[in-house]
Symmetry: D2
Subunit: 143 residues, 4 copies
């Protein structure tokens, strides 16, 4: 969908084992924005032969985390998901490549609201709509 930025890099991903396992590829990062892609694998399917809702959610959640946390942040705070409302709209299957587009919708103090749309690779099908509520907290690891 989006053209791939040559050197997209985010320090958060260096140690993000879950995103690595999912096989997440970062296509674009911007202020309050992130676009990522992944290819669905057999081990992401549920007992009905369609993608497990949790894998779609995990993928969207990774886009949300990248949009929330600036790549050039000083590390004194981290922004995490306080909650999410997600609607599953269409099934997806192993072998399919999917995209997640995360966009900041609101930010007030330490609370934010982000929309993540999960799409088929051609952008023709909306697989899920994810609305994340973020909360910025002190980073205990750096203190």
């Amino acid at each position: 969908m989006s053209p791939i930025d040559a050197d997209v890099h985010h320090p958060m991903l260096t140690h993000d084992h879950a995103s690595e396992w999912l096989g997440i590829e970062v296509l674009h990062l911007g202020d309050g924005q992130a676009t990522i892609a992944m290819t669905l694998r057999p081990e992401m399917m549920n007992g009905f032969g369609i993608t497990h809702g949790g894998m779609i959610f995990a993928f969207a959640d990774s886009a949300f985390a990248l949009a929330c946390n600036p790549a050039d942040g000083d590390g004194s705070t981290v922004t995490v998901a306080a909650g999410v409302d997600v609607n599953f709209l269409a099934p997806s299957r192993a072998g399919q490549r999917i995209t997640a587009v995360a966009t900041r919708r609101q930010q007030q103090g330490r609370s934010g609201l982000y929309d993540v749309q999960i799409l088929s690779d051609d952008g023709a099908t909306v697989i899920a709509e994810f609305r994340g509520r973020s909360r910025t907290i002190p980073n205990r690891h750096t203190k």
Copy 2:
């Protein structure tokens, strides 16, 4: 937490690769109910060293699916997640064992509402509260 039922078995799990990957253990199944457990592994952690929200969600979603779909159903219909509202309340970490308790709250026609509580193994900490909206649809695989 819950005592392990000796022969808990659900046909849905036979082909559920995602639940297998997560390492889900079924502790109890009942009418509109399911209790499962899993042990968090390093590859489920995010860049902040805590469990990726998507892994908590995937775990809760598996409990939800087991509670929605009776083990002795005739396979003509399947019940899937139409949407979920989830609140993340406390972090969890690699090595920790966690439990999900899914309970049917409402069922009206083909729509249902299920609560899933994700707990630390000792039950002392609520890690997340998940409310799933289910929808029962014809099973295209069996038709």
Copy 3:
């Protein structure tokens, strides 16, 4: 449904014009709990002749506010709704008496999670399920 407590009184209601307009009657107040009732009036109906979703929500929200804010609080803080996920399950109509039962589900620091069930007067029909996210903030009026 619930027996009416003889002297249920909550200082918050003294100046709550919206609850007064709705005609809310307080049946029970407890720690993190509130049960209220109201009778639906023609002006609460929408263009389809059933109760406007906003009126059901307003009613549930009043129960939520009463459950969040202790009647004997010192007034230095107030607890407000940060957000809500609501599911409308059955219609209701003018002339019907309905009940809302609010219960605290979680409280961690300044954030809480409350369930409010809206029922027909006989308790046989669940009209809506409301899950409120609360946030406790300093009371600017008293400072």
Copy 4:
């Protein structure tokens, strides 16, 4: 905010007592879209002197209903709210004029997803973000 269309009229409003009570003014109607305004009155305030969440919700819900139900529909079906996730972002007060902008985000078969943004009259403050899940059902009144 939006310029007022000279002859905005929607048959649903003819019998919508709740919208009439709220004092809703329709500014614009389009395909899957509606913009409305209202002026907050003292009886819409809660015990903290700010607008009752239920009144904000009722206002947003009216915009949602107008966006869901085409003014020139044949009346054989109606589209109702199955559920809503709402986030309250900023307080509002009596005397203030507020606007709600409803937009269709997704429609698949009988299920839809609509975003409603509630704004201060100058558009500078987002008071709430409302995401409605719609469901189209047969209209029993016309059958």
